[in-house]
Amino acid sequence: MSRTTLIAFIISLCAWQYSHAQAFSVHINQLDSLMLHAPKPVLILLSTDWCSICASQKDILRKHKRFHQLSPHFYFVEFNGESRERVIYQGKEYFYRPSGVNVGSHELTQHLNDNDKAAYPTWILLSPGYQQVFKQKGLLNVLQLDELLTAMEKTFVQQNKK
């Protein structure tokens, strides 16, 4: 390949981008006040910036229409398990705990995992009363996500209507 065709190839690859879906997740620090005013189920996705399966999971979410359609019925929180932020969750403070230079994990990750070994990605579903009802270590594909949404719809949305 000549140099010019190589450059042209790189440029065309760069230009090839997907359309971008709207932001739909709620920041973890907003959760407390949101839940106070309008309790809803909470779906948390724990990930890190170096985990490729997490990136794949986020890509599936971006393209999942039903997920976006149903999102008004729950709060979706994306949380980086190695985030440096101070977090207030259920009125309690959680911090980043460094374990080396540019390495560490967040206390909230530990808490959400019930002190179990952390894995990425991890899905956690909480009821409007902050009770953990579902936990999944690993990726949920399009169909599984559908199944989870159906289950959520049946249990929470329909229950609300009663």
Partner: protein, 661 residues
């Protein structure tokens, strides 16, 4: 998935549980790929390898495991004592910096020891930067950087043990665990490796593989502070006793001229840490202290060396607007002494340095990193090394492009780095005063990821690199077969190439990582172009795994393929070929996981039974007369530097692993 509503009396809560037919769900769970995404936000390309990757071909040290990473080749430099170094894109070991959790092990005498002794179970991932890493570590990181990230107190097992043995009677034992003491959390690990069964399969009366006894202990502390700042200290101790030589060698012949043997006793300790100052500003102090004590006898030549390094670095990080500024000052002190004639008195070098770098987020998709470093070396004087990196990512983050250009330098110390200087009967000769090597490097890296709706990930990672060296220090084996002449290269050297990695994590449980690097490493002196010795032009690596989730059985097939290399022969009369043939080392493994934390694994390493002696090549010249007692000018000198791959044939292995979470 089915869902159940449990109306419990007290809270009327709902629980979504998984029932029997949920195996479908289990099947598609991809718990982690072998190679993780390179850190997306970093303008410098970082490749991340998980602990799972290293388990696909279990090895007693991370050094050996690196053979399955594209662009990296652990190189054995001595056919008798089997000491080695790490080649990254054709650049030799001393160019590589090793760190533990970002705390540097400033190593000098041997980078390889930095990769020993951390039990695999305590390793969370290994981050690799190929090419000049950053302005942060100066001369240490010209070739690349290997950062071993240990598990956090959350993810580490409470206790773990892993043990395996091979049909060559090699035994490896890893023990690790964590505990808490007041406000401190600690990781503790130990490794013991023994190979005590001399083998001579090629019949040259020399041991094929060096006998080894090695113990290493690693301990890391994280101290919880009220302000949640970092305070981390780690220590490691390695003791190793290794020997190789004529089959009838025993310790009583050490240093004598009756029976040839190379025996090395190594004691090495390291202490390193990182501490955030309790100020509102972000100041971090990292330090590293180490001592390396080597007592070796190569035949009747003793090499007894002692090196101590103290290193400290204070950095200040400040974020304002689009800028993430990092400034720092570093100081390195090296004490070195040995018993050779070249070192009449201990050398003490001081290397203070300053650096500044600014990571500018021009736009969420564009990042620019500007850096410069100034060092003052007590021997070489002032050295300035600037660099610039740029990163672009697509809006959906499936594409990343990185471009970097920079300058690096290296202060060389022949005795601590080039083992060839010490073995054999060759005389070491220096030309003039050696100047520090300087290099200019450029690299381009492009990553594209494809996500499938089923959860599979396919990614392509392509890079091109170019490094231009000035004053390169090159050992000359050819001008005089009885000498190794070291000098600054008059002219220049170039290392350039392209590499491609393909990564595939399929939701069925199939994972594949295939990579290849094409490179050209050569020097030009007085218009004459020469290929670098012991450097291949093409290499490939692969790791292919399949996981039968339902039965908790996984299969791993790993291997590498190394193209022909130019080899150091002793002139026209040397019967050994001056070029190697392409060679490949391939391994298979089966692992069965049990629910109670136990795992059993076994397989065959190097099942093609490749060794450099294949085809009847005698890799050691004059092996029948290592002390050169026969007075015949037609005989070639005794030479052990002709080696380019591990001289160990096929072997089966079987091991057990236990994790208490």
């Amino acid at each position: 998935m089915t869902q159940k509503t449990i109306s419990s009396d007290f809270k009327n809560e709902i629980e979504i549980i998984l029932e029997k037919d949920d195996y479908k769900l289990e099947e598609v769970v991809v718990s982690g790929s072998l190679k993780q995404v390179s850190k997306l936000d970093s303008p410098i390309p970082v490749e991340v390898f998980t602990a799972k990757f290293f388990q696909t071909n279990p090895a007693p040290t991370i050094f050996e495991s690196l053979q399955n990473i594209n662009g990296i080749r652990p190189q054995i430099n001595c056919s008798i004592c089997n000491t080695g170094d790490i080649h990254i894109n054709g650049l030799e070991g001393p160019y590589t910096m090793v760190m533990i959790d970002g705390m540097p092990i400033v190593s000098g005498l041997s980078t390889v020891y930095g990769l020993n002794g951390i039990p695999q179970a305590l390793v969370e991932r290994v981050e690799v930067v190929k090419g000049p890493a950053s302005t942060l570590y100066g001369s240490e990181a010209v070739g690349g950087l290997i950062n071993i990230i240990t598990k956090t107190p959350t993810s580490a097992p409470r206790f773990n043990v892993e043990s395996f043995g091979t049909s060559w009677q090699e035994y490896n034992l890893d023990v690790g665990g964590k505990f808490k003491l007041g406000k401190a959390q600690s990781l503790l690990g130990a490794n013991y490796f023994k190979y005590g069964n001399p083998e001579d399969k090629n019949g040259d009366n020399f041991t094929d593989v060096t006998l080894q006894n090695r113990i290493s202990i690693f301990n890391k502390w994280n101290i919880d502070r009220a302000d949640n700042k970092l305070f981390s200290v780690a220590a490691r101790y390695v003791y190793e006793d290794r020997w190789g030589g004529e089959m009838n060698w025993s310790r009583k012949f050490r240093g004598g001229d009756e029976v040839y043997g190379e025996s090395i006793y190594t004691k090495r300790w390291e202490l390193m840490g990182a501490y955030d100052l309790p100020t509102t500003e972000n100041f971090t102090f990292t330090f590293s202290l180490n001592g390396h004590d080597q007592n070796s006898a190569y035949g009747n030549t003793f090499y007894i060396a002692n090196q101590k390094i103290a290193y400290g670095q204070l950095t200040w990080r400040k974020e304002f607007g689009k800028h993430d500024l990092l400034m720092g000052a570093a100081y390195r002190y090296t004490y070195y002494d040995d018993n050779t004639v070249a070192t009449t008195e201990a050398s003490k070098t001081h290397l203070p340095g300053f650096f500044v770098q600014d990571e500018i987020t021009i736009h969420p998709q564009h990042k620019l990193l500007l850096g410069a470093r100034y060092d003052y070396n007590s021997i070489h004087g002032s050295i300035l090394s600037p660099r610039i990196n740029y990163k672009w990512n697509s809006e959906d983050r499936t594409q990343v492009l990185r471009i970097g250009v920079g300058n690096g330098y290296r202060v060389a110390n022949i005795f601590t780095e080039d083992h060839a200087a010490l073995t054999g009967a060759r005389q070491v000769v220096f030309v003039d005063n050696l100047k520090p090597e300087t290099s200019w490097n450029g690299n381009i890296n492009y990553i594209k990821k494809f996500y499938m709706p089923g959860g599979s990930v396919f990614s392509v990672d392509a890079s091109a690199f170019y490094t231009y060296f000035d004053n390169k220090i090159i050992p000359d084996y050819e001008t005089n077969v009885n000498q190794i002449i070291y000098g600054n290269l008059e002219g220049h050297a170039v290392s350039k190439g392209v590499s491609l990695n393909i990564d595939w994590a399929h939701s069925s449980g199939l994972k594949a990582m295939i990579g290849s690097t094409l490179m050209d490493v050569y020097s030009v002196e007085e218009g004459i172009r020469q290929q670098q010795m012991l450097t291949e032009k093409v290499m490939g690596t692969w790791t292919i795994g399949y996981n039968l989730r339902r039965h908790k059985i996984s299969f791993d097939y790993t291997g590498n393929l190394i193209g022909p290399m130019k080899l150091p022969t002793l002139g026209e009369n040397d019967p050994r070929p001056d070029k190697s043939k392409a060679w490949s080392i391939q391994n298979i493994q089966v692992t069965k996981q049990f629910n109670n934390g136990w795992e059993i694994f076994g397989g065959v390493k190097n099942f093609l039974n490749w060794t450099p002696t294949k085809g009847g090549i005698e890799i050691i010249s004059r092996s029948h007369d290592p002390f050169e007692k026969i007075d015949d000018p037609n005989l070639l000198p005794f030479d052990t530097s002709y080696v380019y791959g591990p001289n160990q044939g096929a072997r089966g292995f079987l091991g057990l692993r236990y994790n208490l979470l």
